[in-house]
Amino acid sequence: MTVSQAAPMPVAPRNKHRAWNKFKHNRIAMAGAGLVLLFVLLAILAPLIATHGPFDTSFTTIRKAPSMAHWLGTDELGRDVFSRLVYGARASLLVGLVSVVIALAVGVPFGLMAGYFGGWTDSAISRFTEALLAIPFLILAIALAAFLGPSLINAMVAIGVSAAPKFIRLTRGQVLSVKNEDFVQSARALGASDTRIIIMHVLPNVVPPLIVQATITIATAIIAEASLSFLGLGLQPPNPSWGSMLNTAKNFMTQAPWMSIFPGSAIFLVVLGFNLLGDGLRDALDPRQDR
């Protein structure tokens, strides 16, 4: 008898189908997925969609209102707002994705260790997590970005590290809830190693809530990047980022309102998209939420 036969995987394929069906019929979640897809396409196809170069300045088109030539107007250096917006999607989505990958890479292993081994390991990791959680997300990110120096990569590291404690907590909690289930006990009885039990039997049960949390964290990370760039601690000019576009736009609120309106709307829509998607995924993947 092999270990995998004795220890059935609790996530049955039937459940996956049910989750997908539930998700498919959730119109709000599908709208979220659509919004996310739209921005992903904008980011990937930026060179094809943009009507102008994102860095093309022009003295003749400084702060012009939206027109046929410049759909969303131009900024203080005569650059096309629409084109900068399209290229800005790249920075936003990249930061969102990379910082969540960092948070997962740091959070999941520590969470698994804390939950699975318990005792001294758990206490040490949990206290450290609490300490990190005591410093508000954005303040920690600002402090890290300040000490590391302002750049896109440092912003990603800062946001990723600040988001990691949530993943440690979530993973740890999930592990605790499955650690004493029969299928884990029987795998152990059959002599499976800790590593094998963690990867083959515990991890698959942690994945669904992690997917939900990761989706919502992308939303938080995009706002955090926009906030850091707005403060001047993210992507440095002249590179296009929605946050830094708003940072300059706030100086021209009365003369050129279009400079503020559009980048902000873009942040709002993409973040809303990820939040709607996350909510839909939670409804579909977490049966305990059924009421």
Partner: protein, 314 residues
């Protein structure tokens, strides 16, 4: 009960120690020699040596750490590298401003978020619930600095109703102070109201499904009585804890709100310090916020023990 409270307080100690270590190690992340940053344009080796000695940079790390903790424990957070004003003085000056902003924002969030959450739970499956959910998700998704810019454009520039920026102390002119703080507080409250609504909704749904609510209904308590006296009283418990946890979100949000509305508070202090490379101030503020957050958490837990009869009599 006292043992429970005491144990809770003891758990906070290692957290405090770890926070101090994290804040201390922030300064070690600085690229390059910190003495060169401290000295500015000065490159005289004698001066650099003096500074190294003054800030104990030649000592091993643990020695530096304990020296720093000893200093911080006596309430000395160092001096601003820019203005030479003690960091504690700066914090004491700016904190009341941010506290006023935070208190007003919390007030708006509570009066909007909790009733909306109750309504969404009671009207489950009805259009009101969907509307409330979409409103909450939008509140969480809207970047508050952008909302601030838009409000300034419409309310201050177009309609000329409220001042666009600045700060007036309530002791100076109470109504003007409220008027200037109204927009920033509303902006800061959006995300908070959204969180509160969502948590109230799920806590209420759970309470409405509980046995004691079914019993109350069976013995003929009115629908209103069930919702307000039985379900809400139980649902509010986790919300009290949430409100203290959201304190951190409020401070972080205040950083951006203060930047948009040029309010001379805590958040503006950090951002200005970051750009002036005034690391002592950044470190002091982060430490202060973290300690404040730990204390708030501790208070929330103690409060929870005190008001919960099951824990009170254990």
């Amino acid at each position: 009960m006292f043992i429970l409270i005491l144990r809770r307080m003891l758990v906070a100690i290692p957290t405090l120690i770890l926070v101090s270590m994290i804040v201390f190690s922030l300064q070690k992340l600085l690229p390059g020699d910190p003495v060169l940053t401290l000295a500015g344009e000065e490159r005289d080796p004698a001066v650099l040596d003096y500074l190294r000695d003054k800030y104990r940079l030649n000592d091993p790390l643990p020695v530096q750490y304990f020296a720093w903790v000893k200093q911080v424990a006596t309430g000395d957070l160092g001096r601003s590298l820019r203005t030479d004003v003690p960091v504690t003085t700066l914090i004491a000056q700016k904190l009341p401003v941010t506290l006023q902003l935070a208190a007003m924002a919390m007030f708006f969030a509570l009066i909007v978020g909790i009733p909306m959450g109750i309504l969404a739970a009671v009207k489950k499956g009805k259009p009101i619930e969907y509307g409330a959910n979409i409103a909450a998700l939008s509140g969480m998704s809207i970047p508050n600095f952008w909302l601030g810019i838009i409000l300034i454009m419409v309310v201050s520039v177009q309609w000329r109703l409220l001042p666009a920026s600045g700060y007036v102390s309530p002791s100076e002119d109470f109504w003007l102070s409220m008027k200037t703080m109204l927009m920033p507080a509303l902006v800061l409250s959006t995300a908070l109201a959204a969180y509160l609504m969502r948590h109230t909704r799920s806590a209420m749904l759970e309470a409405l499904n509980a046995d004691y609510v079914r019993t109350a209904r069976a013995k003929g308590v009115s629908a209103r009585g069930v919702i307000l006296r039985h379900a809400l009283r139980n649902a509010l418990m986790p919300i009290v804890t949430l409100v203290t946890l959201l304190f951190g979100e409020l401070l972080a949000g205040a950083v951006l709100t203060e930047q948009v509305f040029t309010i001379p508070g805590f958040g503006k202090l950090v951002v200005d310090a970051v750009f002036n490379r005034d690391y002592a101030v950044v470190q002091g503020v982060v430490l202060c916020v973290a300690v404040g957050f730990i204390v708030m958490n501790l208070l929330a837990d103690v409060l929870y023990i005190l008001v919960n009869p099951r824990l009170r009599h254990s």
